[in-house]
């Protein structure tokens, strides 16, 4: 018959197991947190290293890449790598869509918080949530089948244009702006409203002179977040913008953005060739600009008052 271990040993052993569980849990959780840091750093390093290859290994001039309007990578023996039309296209659709979506989004937020806080919110909140849920390809597809023919027949041009891209994007970023703007407005202390009304201001005067200025940093954050989303959107824009590598001269001209050129050409170019490497450089630009958006948001939220 096997002799039982002394009570002292058994207790020590069980305590050891118990401690092991504790330590194991801690290790697992720390590992999960570490994975996030690792993912961020590896994305930056991998894309950075690959994105700089066009300039270091293939000898593409960085100045030409950022400032030239001529893009023709397959023009032998003198390929042209001017990405300015795409950089301009990206910024153009981003700003134009923000110009449309910002007033609508902030207006909707004010409607939900100031004009009709009870029933208005009950209706608009689910509407906004449903708009978030529609996948971006579906927006692109509707843009392609409804908006593009509409622009072609009623406004002019080919239909595939900056205008179509901008409208699709503004609908896509509307929920982002509205949600954050609503949070901003509803977190304002009620004493602001009461103070303004007590001084005899009308509702519009209160909104314009008191509430919107007070919520301004967060409202700007909302717009910047919307712009960040618009800047990185690929497929929906690609389906409606026409993808022409010429510099657009009017809002009805077809155009292209960094994301659409990457989407279109990544599959058709050989991995490691110059044509392919400049696409990675564009991806790196996207990464850098999304870092820039984060810095802007950081700056804005440090100025938040409420």
């Amino acid at each position: 018959m096997e002799r039982l271990a002394p009570a002292k040993d058994r207790l020590l052993k069980s305590e050891k197991n118990w401690m092991n569980g504790e330590v194991r849990g801690k290790i697992i959780v720390f590992l999960c947190a570490f994975i996030m840091i690792a993912a961020t750093i590896s994305i930056t390093i991998f894309l950075g290293q690959k994105g700089l290859q066009a300039f270091i290994k293939n000898g593409v001039s960085l100045i030409e890449f950022l400032t030239s309007k001529a893009w023709n990578p397959s023009n032998q023996p003198n390929p042209l790598f001017g990405a300015l039309p795409f950089i301009f296209g990206s910024f153009a659709v981003t700003f134009l869509s923000a110009i449309i979506a910002a007033p609508l989004g902030i207006g909707a937020a004010i409607f939900m918080t100031e004009i009709a806080p009870s029933w208005g919110r009950k209706i608009l909140q689910p509407v906004i949530e449903l708009l978030v849920g529609i996948p971006s390809v579906v927006y692109g597809f509707i843009g392609l089948t409804v908006l593009v023919p509409f622009v072609r027949n009623h406004i002019g041009g080919l239909g595939f244009s900056l205008l179509s891209g901008m409208i699709v994007l503004s609908i896509m970023i509307l929920p982002t702006i509205t949600t954050i703007a609503t949070d901003a407005m509803s977190s304002l202390p009620n004493s602001l409203r009461e103070g303004s009304y007590a001084l005899g201001a009308t509702r519009w005067q209160t909104i314009r002179k008191v509430l919107v200025p007070a919520a301004m940093p967060t409202l700007l954050t909302a717009i910047v977040l919307g712009m960040a989303r618009a800047f990185g959107e690929a497929l929906a824009v690609q389906m409606v913008i026409g993808n022409v590598s010429k510099f657009p001269h009017s809002i009805l001209d077809p155009s292209a953005t960094l994301t659409t050129i990457i989407t279109l050409n990544m599959g058709n170019t050989t991995f490691g060739s110059i044509e392919n490497n400049v696409l990675w450089s564009m991806g790196f630009i996207l990464l850098v600009i999304s870092f820039a958006f984060i810095l802007i948001i950081r700056y804005l939220s440090s100025r938040r008052k409420f």
Partner: protein, 295 residues
């Protein structure tokens, strides 16, 4: 113009904005559902797609979408939960926590095409797998992880302090408290958040273009061995999901009935996302009622 009139005009403008947004949503859904639902039939959902002839279905794409989603969630939920527990329970205020918080923020705001490019570099080229379901799922994990971390962190933070203090007061260790008190109490909100995140993953296409590919091999649905090439369960095969399919038939499709297929696929996609939204709401409150015995 006196201030009373200005006030009335402004109110009118705000109401008009609300009406514009509501009619936008109604218009979008009307278009998707009216055009799409009539394309959906048993045949459409159960026959394989074709690159050339009309009348093909979306069977494989639909299966791929759910399968990629499933693999993604299997990877994301434990990682996101672990990250959330760390942020809510173990993170001490300081430099490292700030860095992790910034990393979550950076990952959340990365354009999905950039994540797709990273996936192409890391999970397609570097590993030598080629276009695979696993590569797609890992790319979507990068895309989804920050959402899951935030959801779990918020859910754990909203568990009442007293519960945790009572557990620690009984001499239970920290990790055991997390395991047996905090996670079960936070479970309904984590589940709701996870299902909502699943809806977002389900409709994602840009991150999958270069990681899971634009094609699906011929699948044999009677083959359940995940290690054979024709098995639908094989995670090392290319897989075109439904969202990617909508994009590819519209931009590179040669089939004569692009409109019909795209309309039908868009409707299926939107209906699935709607179901995810509804599920998130109902299951969350059901589980909450069951676990807390509140009415």
């Amino acid at each position: 113009m006196n201030s009373k009139t200005a006030d009335r005009i402004a109110t009118g403008v705000f109401v008009a904005i609300a009406i514009i947004i509501i009619s936008l949503l109604v218009g979008l859904f009307y278009f998707i559902l009216v055009n799409g639902v009539k394309q959906i039939s048993f045949h459409f959902l159960t026959s394989p797609s074709s690159n050339l002839v009309a009348g093909a279905g979306i069977r494989d794409q639909l299966f791929n979408s759910f399968y990629v989603l499933f693999i993604t969630m299997i990877i994301t939920i434990p990682l996101g939960l672990g990250g959330g527990i760390y942020m809510a329970e173990y993170a001490k205020p300081g430099k490292i926590t700030d860095i992790i918080r910034s990393c979550v923020e950076v990952l959340a705001s990365l354009p999905s095409i950039v994540i797709g490019m990273f996936g192409l570099l890391m999970f397609v080229t570097l590993t030598g797998w080629g276009y695979t379901i696993l590569g797609g799922a890992l790319a979507l994990t990068v895309f989804n992880l920050p959402v899951m971390v935030r959801v779990s962190e918020d859910a754990i933070r909203t568990v009442p302090r007293e519960l945790k203090e009572a557990s620690l007061g009984l001499g239970i260790t920290h990790w055991h408290t997390v395991k047996t008190i905090l996670i079960p109490s936070a479970f309904p909100s984590i589940l709701t958040g996870a299902i909502l995140a699943a809806g977002r993953v389900f409709g994602e296409a840009a991150a999958l273009l270069f990681t899971a590919g634009l094609s699906t091999p011929r699948l044999d649905y009677s083959n359940w061995n995940p290690f054979t090439a024709t098995s639908p369960l094989n995670i090392f095969r290319p897989a075109e999901t439904l969202a990617v399919h909508i994009w590819s038939v519209n931009t590179q499709g040669l089939i004569p009935d692009v409109k019909e297929v795209a309309n039908g696929s868009a409707a299926v996609l939107v209906i699935c996302v709607l179901i995810f939204n509804l599920l998130a709401r109902t299951i969350g409150s059901l589980v909450y009622k069951k676990m807390t015995a509140t009415k």
